[in-house]
Symmetry: none
């Protein structure tokens, strides 16, 4: 996996070993879920022995799991926020750009898929995960969406009631998220992302734009 795997038993800076192990853990947990993942496999992937895992993650499997999840989060939403905050054009242009971003990430990045899967699988055993997803992923996404809606309403591009229906942000978000679920569940058999994107864009415009687009 890594093009320059360090030799077994080699002394490595602590931080690098830590990252290496974390990376291995993400792969293992993502592929097999919490219960199905084996510490020995994580150690193998990381090129270390089982014992060392407990040196870096004294809490054992659960500790490693939480750390693995946490390492999967940051970049996803950050990009969307950056896009929105620096955007100069119309509200219509911005929401188009955001939807495009969603489908683009869906096609490219496996990290969020992994996260969603683990959330679904292990939310029972690790209640913090559900809360984490709700507060760190879902809520910010909805907030961002609502900001755009409000901006569109204020600029007159969107219908006056586009920011008054509380569930609208969910409905706008759902196709992207569901596309991600389909992707990770059905693999190659999943609905085509380009097709979803086209229908999603058109629907969103019809729902939002002040003047029907004919």
């Amino acid at each position: 996996m890594n093009d320059a795997l360090p030799a077994r038993g080699a002394r490595l800076p602590s931080a690098e070993r830590h990252a290496l192990i974390l990376e291995a853990a993400v792969e293992e947990f993502a592929g097999r879920g919490y219960a199905g993942a084996r510490m020995a496999a994580v150690a193998n992937r990381a090129g270390v022995t089982k014992g060392l895992l407990y040196h870096y993650f004294p809490g054992g499997k659960t500790d490693l799991f939480r750390a693995a999840i946490a390492s999967c989060v940051a970049p996803a939403l950050a990009e969307a926020n950056q896009l929105a905050s620096g955007f100069a054009g119309s509200a219509r242009g911005l929401i188009t750009a955001l939807i495009d971003l969603g489908y683009a990430r869906m096609a490219l990045e496996p990290r969020e898929h992994i996260l969603m899967r683990l959330l679904m699988t292990e939310a029972d055993r690790f209640p913090e995960l559900a809360e984490f997803y709700r507060s760190e992923i879902l809520q910010p996404s909805l907030m961002l969406t609502r900001q755009v809606l409000r901006a569109g309403v204020e600029s007159g591009e969107f219908r006056p009631d586009a920011d008054s229906l509380p569930g609208l942000a969910h409905v706008l978000l759902a196709p992207i998220l569901m596309g991600s679920v389909w992707r990770m569940t059905l693999g190659e058999g999943a609905p085509d992302a380009a097709m979803l994107r086209a229908a999603h864009l058109q629907s969103a415009m019809r729902v939002l734009l002040a003047a029907p687009d004919g």
Copy 2:
């Protein structure tokens, strides 16, 4: 769980025991996933010994798992199809009824949630499951949706292009499905179903209706 659990060791008609075990398996698998589920726990829930599990499901854990999944399927889509086939009113009324049905089931029935969760979680290990979901759940749902769209177009209620955009059915379905995912992932913290339903209905109407409803 069962109000009249048969006494341990009591002889039972084969079919009843089979159903009892299956029920117990659904609960156990739903709660802990495939790898986390324990045969002993299934046996306990069913009020039998481990050995008997292998009498009824000679293929062991995998056999039991497949059977448990299969037992969760039938009723969901059947109801929707029945509703659609016997519907007398307008296309608008039908799609409203179908969306209502979706959110109603989401609130009431844990069975499909369980199914979806297991499908998503274990599709890697049981490729048949993904195919099963695609062909038995998703495709029929999309087909039903497209039928309604076509009927609405033909009757003049819906925009003329409402049945020509291939991804539209996905976009219309996504909020319901994602609502189900949120429900089973976030539990009490999930977005409110009534809220989702209201926004979903309004959006759908704007996307579909020939004349804007002002």
Copy 3:
């Protein structure tokens, strides 16, 4: 195996069922040893259910095993004794006929092989088996051999000391028995029976005959 297996569940004369089960048990034990044999497999081979095994052999697996062994014994030595008692020709002719008989049975009859194998495998757990083999198989064989030797000495065909060396009968018997062991151990790779027979005959003659045969 049987050309006219009775239908499952059919009422059968007790003796026939008994024999059918015994036959099945011999095959199963022969193929897998005592510990490796499974009652369910015996029942299957016999076309009955497990429960019935305990009706016919109340002592369970051990009971069935002893009965299976006992059913394998009778015919082998009987034939040799019959041959010897009815023999009219020379002692040389008789011992030749007996050696021929040994190699002929080795090639044809799997039953004694089975017996030997079980004896070797299970003699620890069933001490009676060793005693049974010693007294019912080995001793009679040695006795028969010694009778022939004595007859040959008395008739002047064999050296005068041919019946005074106590281990000679063992040495004469060993190649046949070892041939049987090789057969069942090495299967197709076992030493050729015809080759063994030729060498055995020539050696025996040189050891026994009063006048060297040149």
Copy 4:
């Protein structure tokens, strides 16, 4: 069994633990056969826990079994070959020494008996075992015997045709091997080794020697 069994849980050089476990496995398999042997019993005999067995023999029971068999082999034939290669006396003296060696080992060494028993018992399930016995034990023994026969013929001690009858080596070997089988099958009730040896020697001489020893 071992006079200085290491304390439970004590760390031991890998090679020693390996040997300790192997030794325990030989005993257990020898005593109960493959199917009857229990991993827990092997662990107990070796003074370790079951888990460690799988550390040293990742292939589990079959792996351990093969290793146990293989560990029983080396010394037996080596001794005979050494004896033959360093022998200075007559061919008659050599064959006498070899036969003596065979009966001596039979009386003393349980290892080869164990091997033979396992070979015979489990050859079905482990076809490699049969091949192993044939190529590593039986063939070399026959080769050694034939070498001696040829040497005796060339020196004029043995009849000119003593090396031209292909099965003669088998016949000469059989009493020793069969004696071993009797030993392990009948235990104390087996034919006396000294008696067998005497008869075997005398017979061999009569079969082989150029001039009858009358």
